[in-house]
């Protein structure tokens, strides 16, 4: 059986006449954090949606641990933080986690989830009473409570202040340290630099550069300079 956490093979996705993905080839290895970096509209969210079985590739193939991303068996091994407009606000933090944990065959104990997501002391708070950063940490908790081997984070730190962003980075690193894999989309270059083993820069649905943060940076002073150079060159 294929144990590769995620594999995109020549994936294209068209929405009407819009080509959101144009022949994406991408592999995430065990224990690796891959940052998918790109401007708004580059195809990051579409890539995430195909990986979660929420969108079907127009052509090509997406495999998660060798399986179809839509299968329940595959989904037990994956957790995700999506960009959601609203979450039921009257349920408490521990109630949300309790419910999501029940979806998985081998969930993490509640106390571990709370700790891993940095939610100590907030268990009895209602979701609607939390700050933006705390709400993101609840979504992170819901993504990891099923003990997944692959975590997918779609712009998890958008709109967070520096402190909340750093706190979430710490939790992501702790997750990776246990040998799991992460696909992270972001348009914060510092985030990719701080977390990623591999950075994949996509532009208009295809990869324009990939490598370690150091390789991407090359001779440029910062990753940001390198990114701008790349976009101008393509």
């Amino acid at each position: 059986m294929d144990s590769t956490p995620a594999r995109f093979t020549r994936v294209t996705k068209n929405y009407g006449t819009v080509e959101a993905l144009r022949g994406l080839d991408l592999t995430i290895a065990p224990g690796e954090l891959v940052a998918l970096l790109g401007a708004n509209g580059a195809g990051k969210t579409t890539a995430v949606r195909t990986l979660l079985g929420l969108a079907k590739p127009t052509s090509g193939e997406v495999r998660v641990f060798g399986g179809d991303p839509r299968d329940a068996a595959t989904r037990t091994r994956v957790g995700a933080v999506l960009q959601i407009a609203r979450v039921p606000e009257t349920l408490r933090v521990r109630e949300h986690i309790d419910l999501f944990s029940s979806y998985y065959p081998h969930p993490m104990p509640m106390a571990e989830v709370i700790e891993a997501a940095g939610l100590q002391g907030l268990e009895r708070r209602k979701y609607g009473q939390l700050s933006g950063g705390q709400q993101k940490r609840v979504l992170f908790a819901l993504a990891i409570c099923g003990n997944p081997d692959l975590l997918i984070l779609d712009e998890p730190t958008v709109g967070l202040d520096v402190e909340a962003r750093r706190a979430l980075w710490k939790q992501i690193r702790a997750f990776i340290a246990r040998g799991r894999s992460v696909l992270l989309t972001t348009h914060y270059l510092a985030e990719a630099e701080a977390l990623a083993d591999q950075v994949v820069v996509i532009h208009r649905g295809s990869i324009i550069k990939e490598g370690t943060p150091r390789e991407i940076k090359g001779d440029a002073a910062t990753l940001e300079d390198a990114f701008i150079d790349l976009l101008e060159a393509s």
């Binding site: 949606r49 079907k56 989904r75 039921p88 099923g146």
Partner: protein, 250 residues
């Protein structure tokens, strides 16, 4: 199994913690009943006391409201805001999501009917035997299935903000034209004929078969109409679900 129970538990908690949404659904039919059935004291419908007649029709009215709002509007909102999609990335059985909302609508329906019984007995001089009361409760709660299917169909085609107004636009005229507010015999003949095509009419007639005051049409016809409604609305809801999938998964 545990997932199903937890989904139900948290649906109930959500409703309890949002009394601004749940209380109107529960109290609206009771207030209407109090007004028309008890205080207004209209003349009898044939040999049946108005307070008894209207307990059946306002019971139907309340159940339909609980089903359309509790099911339809809440699906439309959670779907529109991306919460349903977030759940779909998990291995949650999708049925658990819908079953919990169906149970929720049935619990609400039962509460509404029991409130009507209480008001009717204490203030309206209604004397239903225990057997009749239980039969009425059973018919009214079971009927919520048809209207949950309608709610679901609306929930899949309406946006999160337009769902509630659309539901009202369908719910209130349909209730009136089916004779849920004012007995059908008091309505003009053309409306009486039109009502034959409206599911709430058949629903209320089934309830009236128990309290007395039905028009004596065949029970089988009413049951068939309710079942056909459930199938048609369910099919429309399913198309909406496929359309949703297609939009994202096409």
């Amino acid at each position: 199994m545990k997932t199903y129970l937890l989904e139900i538990k948290y649906e109930l908690l959500k409703a309890l913690r949002m009394p601004q949404y749940s209380l109107p659904t529960l109290l609206f039919p009771v207030v209407f009943y109090l007004f028309f059935g008890v205080l207004f004291n209209m003349k009898n419908v044939g040999s049946v006391r108005m307070a008894e007649y209207l307990i059946a029709t306002y019971g139907a009215f309340g159940v339909i409201g609980a089903s359309l709002f509790g099911f339809g509007v809440s699906v439309a909102i959670e779907r529109g805001q991306g919460w349903l999609e977030a759940k779909r990335t998990t291995p949650m059985p999708i049925a658990a999501y819908f079953v919990s909302k169906l149970v929720m609508a049935m619990v609400f329906s039962a509460i509404i009917v029991l409130l009507l019984f209480t008001v009717g007995t204490l203030l309206g001089g209604v004397t239903l035997t225990l057997g009749k009361a239980l039969a009425l409760l059973g018919v009214l709660v079971a009927g919520s299935i048809t209207f949950c299917a309608l709610g679901l169909a609306l929930g899949f085609f309406a946006g999160p903000n337009s769902a509630a107004p659309i539901v009202n636009l369908i719910y209130l005229p349909m209730a009136f034209l089916s004779g849920l507010w004012v007995p059908i015999l008091f309505l003009p003949k053309p409306i009486q004929r039109l009502a034959l095509w409206l599911p709430p009419y058949h629903f209320s007639q089934l309830a009236l078969h128990i309290t007395g005051g039905s028009r004596g049409e065949s029970v089988l016809m009413h049951v068939t109409a309710m079942a056909a409604g459930a199938v048609v609305f369910g099919a429309i809801a399913y198309l909406g679900y496929l359309r949703d999938e297609g939009k994202t998964y096409g």
